[in-house]
């Protein structure tokens, strides 16, 4: 397994591969968002209880999923970086952090706008809302930590450990609604139970989820490419300064 990982960890090969797939990801993102937003805003019925407000879900839920997905990506890349010392894995983790923080902010903001009309409050300190706020702080702490060292290698090492330790929060966010009484309702879609969503509401949600996933992949590829080039420039500048 490490052999195949090594192949993709070669920066030159990564640049070539990512250049080839990037237009496909970007195009797919645009198409999925056009279809998804059309279905979410016009092509789906209102909810029997919440009326038109339910449309917030089509942004809120995929953003929340990707907030967790981006953190898991960051933690996995950090583990690879810590154990196998691949520089590219460090770059993936560092590039994923701001994107994930963005998704978390979107999930929190849309959740507050949704909570006010439905629950009667923008914010409560229940287990789900609090753990998602902790997720945002983990992202911000990680970004601050990796930039707090003069030596980027040491910053990356410290950040990787924080990313791994903080991953403990991901299952807490996911299962908070099952483990404790919360104001937030439990998940509508789970692997084991029949989904509590009508197909006419499920379809736009899944299309939007694909759109958010493709958006994450596109942004991540772009950011890792930039980070790779930046790193090469830094190495060249240091080599020139020495000679």
């Amino acid at each position: 397994m490490t052999g195949s990982l090594h192949r993709f960890a070669n920066p030159a090969r990564f640049q070539r591969l990512s250049q080839a797939v990037l237009p496909w990801f970007a195009g797919g993102t645009v198409i999925a968002f056009v279809i998804g937003l059309y279905l979410a805003l016009f092509g789906s019925p209102p909810d029997y209880q919440q009326g038109e407000t339910v449309r917030i879900m089509y942004v809120h839920v995929p953003a929340a999923w990707m907030a967790l997905g981006a953190y898991t990506t960051m933690a996995l890349a950090s583990a690879v970086a810590l154990i196998w010392r691949h520089r590219l894995a460090d770059l993936v983790a560092q590039s994923a952090a701001p994107i994930g923080a963005g998704f978390t902010v979107i999930a929190l903001a849309t959740g507050m706008l949704w909570g006010q009309p439905m629950w009667g409050t923008f914010w409560v300190w229940d287990a789900r809302l609090t753990s998602v706020l902790v997720l945002l702080f983990l992202y911000l702490g990680y970004i601050a930590l990796i930039n707090a060292f003069d030596d980027p290698e040491r910053g990356a090492r410290a950040g990787a450990i924080l990313a791994l330790v903080g991953w403990i929060n991901v299952p807490i966010v996911k299962f908070s609604v099952d483990w404790w009484n919360t104001l937030h309702q439990p998940a509508s879609i789970s692997r084991f139970a029949k989904p509590a969503l009508h197909p006419s509401i499920m379809t736009p949600l899944l299309v939007m989820a694909i759109a958010f996933m493709l958006l994450f992949a596109t942004l991540l590829l772009l950011r890792v490419r930039t980070a790779t080039v930046e790193q090469r420039l830094r190495t060249l500048a240091m080599a020139r300064a020495r000679s």
């Binding site: 909810d47 009667g120 991953w167 009484n181 104001l183 509508s188 509590a196 009508h198 509401i201």
Partner: protein, 147 residues
Amino acid sequence: MTRKRRRLYAVTAGMLLLAAAVGLVLNAFRDSLVFFYGPSEALAKSLSPDQRFRLGGLVEPGSLGKAGDGVTVTFKVTDGAAAIPVRYAGILPDLFREGQGVIAEGRLLQGTFEARNVLAKHDEKYMPPEVVEALKKSGQWQAESKP
């Protein structure tokens, strides 16, 4: 053992220990991590009158009434086993109705819950209104489950 393998074991062991520690802490704080008590729990705890807490459950159908002043509403919050009467003067959320899940914040005074704030809780079901109508007609509609 190579250094890579050693690092792999160290990271795995660290994560497992951390997960165990967090699990124990969360288990220890279980009682303070809940957002609300159900009526049965609240009655079993014999809370003192000056202790504020949140009471969660369903608004018992047929229990909603208005007091003489036109502002105060009274209803019962139930979990199926026990019910506590609630009194509240203020704005109710849009989703508030009989049979709906609610969370009231306040104190229990002589068996009546004096609410300062009422929040609506909804379940994880999302359906178009026509489907709900059809389900109700065919008798397959299940009312909201316990919140």
